[in-house]
């Protein structure tokens, strides 16, 4: 479903931030992407979501070489991904309901056709009462949950979460992890970027992809 072959990335003329990255993500797999701060976890995530182009190497998503995709194909490919950003990336002028519904709205679906799904998901992440609030008045944890709901609403084939428990208390962190595990069991491939060892220890069956010094080490 996702493969990196000899991928390298350098910003400008400096040294490579990521070097010879090789890995594959299988369907229905679960992995933590970890490493010290600044190791390049977010950069690797940005390569996967095609927000960055590699300096070298081949990235293949859902059977397509990302270097050969047109703008329209990139958009179509991204619809198979669910992404939880470290900084949430919620749109402040939209309500939580509208933020969560955004991936369905860009598909051109009628609002009435997804109202039930969005409402139900908001209730599930504990934001049912906040559906019509704007992100500006929410706490970090609430924003985090809204961001997760937005990533899940379109039932992606691959879920990427960048530090998804960074802003929540341990109880909610466990609940979020359970949600990801459940998603994984239901058939979604999951990559969680985190440096939270406690979180990783709660799901030891997961593969660990460890980034250090620009290289990726895989622990099955």
């Amino acid at each position: 479903m996702l493969s990196f072959e000899n991928v390298g990335l350098r910003y400008g003329v400096g040294a490579e931030t990521l070097r010879d990255i090789n890995f594959q993500i299988a369907p229905r797999s679960f992995q933590f992407l970890t490493g010290p701060s600044g190791a390049g976890k977010t950069t690797l995530m940005r390569l996967i979501i095609m927000a960055l182009r590699p300096t070298r190497g081949l990235i293949n998503i859902f059977g397509k070489d990302t270097a050969a995709l047109s703008n329209e194909e990139v958009a179509e490919t991204r619809r198979g991904l669910g992404v939880v950003f470290q900084d949430f990336r919620l749109l402040d002028h939209l309500t939580l309901y509208e933020n969560v519904a955004l991936p369905l709205r860009v598909l051109g679906r009628e609002e009435s056709s997804y109202r039930a799904e969005v409402t139900e998901l908001l209730r599930w992440v504990g934001l049912g009462e906040r559906a019509h609030a704007c992100p500006t008045i929410l706490s970090g944890g609430e924003k985090q949950r809204a961001a997760i709901a937005r990533a899940l609403i379109s039932q992606p084939k691959l879920l990427l979460a960048d530090e998804p428990t960074g802003n929540v208390d341990p109880t909610l962190a466990r609940r979020i992890l359970r949600l990801f595990v459940e998603l994984h069991k239901a058939g979604t491939a999951v990559i969680i970027a985190t440096h939270d060892l406690t979180l990783m220890d709660q799901y030891e069956e997961a593969r660990r992809l460890v980034l250090a010094d620009g290289r990726l080490h895989i622990f099955e």
């Binding site: 927000a51 991204r78 990336r89 509208e98 709205r105 860009v106 379109s154 949600l179 239901a186």
Partner: protein
């Protein structure tokens, strides 16, 4: 955790959701209203639409007036009978008038009396002169039937046969000059219209670029959740088209109000000599149905152009980003 597959709602859930429907206000626009320099753009578009409507209506006014002038002139011709040695001018005038009346298509041939012909020279020669000794040409004014215009070649041949010293002036040189003048006025108005629309396009382009820059984060998020460029461009187009429509309605409405006011003032002014002259030249200063239609079309066109331009600019910007 059953929620995770987000199955379709059961009948019970669906009824809950219907009951909740009123809680869901209309969806917010993805491009926020306050992120676009809306007010200034609406003002610019309103002014440009007003000026464009003015230019278009002046062109229509001149073109219509020119058609009227040319129509009036083309329905008339003049025969000039010059005094010639050995010929009796009164007999020549009568013979020429009679020959003209016999020609099919000529409705009327009015002979100008000697005094009337002399009166025509007064503006050039002054008053109080005895012109009886001068060989003053005599005029015959011909009026043609509207549907059945005469054959001018035949008229000329007939005139030459009957009175060799007579000349037929069908006013074609004057008509052509009037036509040229009207075309020049219309072309100038069209050029001004194009300049106005070009200036408006530049303003819209600049506002769109500013809006895209301001909403960069929104564009990025939309991209990351899988929005195609066309979807994003459509959102900007919708916002700008609404602004364009507002500006065009204000400008077009202002132009209509201007013409209504101008018509009212012209009616008040008509009693003066200057007013009569202007009315004789350009007809009644009012908004004709074609002028009204031009303003409506212009307003619609301005709104559509605003939306289209913003869409193209956003698409090009996104294509570059890609």
């Amino acid at each position: 955790m059953a929620v995770m597959r987000f199955s379709s709602p059961t009948r019970h859930e669906a009824s809950d959701i219907d009951a909740d429907a009123e809680e869901f206000p209309a969806q917010s626009a993805l491009v926020p209203a306050d992120s676009v320099p809306g007010r200034s753009l609406v003002i610019v578009i309103a002014i440009m639409t007003f000026l464009a409507a003015l230019a278009a209506n002046v062109a229509i006014l001149v073109a219509d007036a020119s058609v009227d002038w040319r129509g009036d002139i083309a329905r008339e011709a003049t025969v000039q009978v010059r005094p010639a040695p050995g010929r009796e001018i009164e007999a020549d005038v009568a013979a020429a008038a009679e020959a003209m009346r016999r020609t099919p298509g000529v409705r009327e041939a009015r002979v100008y009396a000697q005094s009337e012909s002399e009166a025509l020279l007064t503006p050039w020669l002054g008053e109080g002169l005895d012109l009886s000794e001068l060989p003053t040409p005599r005029m015959i004014v011909l009026k043609f039937e509207t549907e059945n215009r005469p054959d001018f070649e035949r008229l000329r041949t007939e005139l030459e046969r009957v009175v060799p010293s007579a000349v037929l002036d069908d006013h074609h040189v004057f008509i052509e000059r009037l036509g040229d003048m009207a075309r020049a006025a219309v072309a100038t108005a069209a050029f001004i219209l194009i300049l106005i629309l070009a200036a408006m396009a530049v303003a819209v382009a600049s506002a769109t670029r500013a809006a895209v820059a301001t909403n960069r984060e929104i564009v990025e998020v939309l991209h990351l959740v899988g929005a195609a460029d066309a979807f994003i461009a459509r959102e900007f187009q919708r916002r700008f088209m609404a602004l364009g429509l507002r500006g065009a309605l204000i400008g077009g409405g202002g132009a209509i109000a201007f013409f209504v006011l101008a018509q009212f003032l012209a009616q008040q002014w008509r009693v003066t000599g200057g007013g009569e002259q202007i009315e004789a030249m350009f007809g009644e200063f009012s908004l004709s149905p074609s002028g009204f239609l031009a303003i409506v079309l212009l307003a619609g066109g301005v709104a559509a152009l605003t939306g289209y331009l913003s869409r193209v600019i956003v698409l090009r910007h996104l294509w570059r980003l890609g």
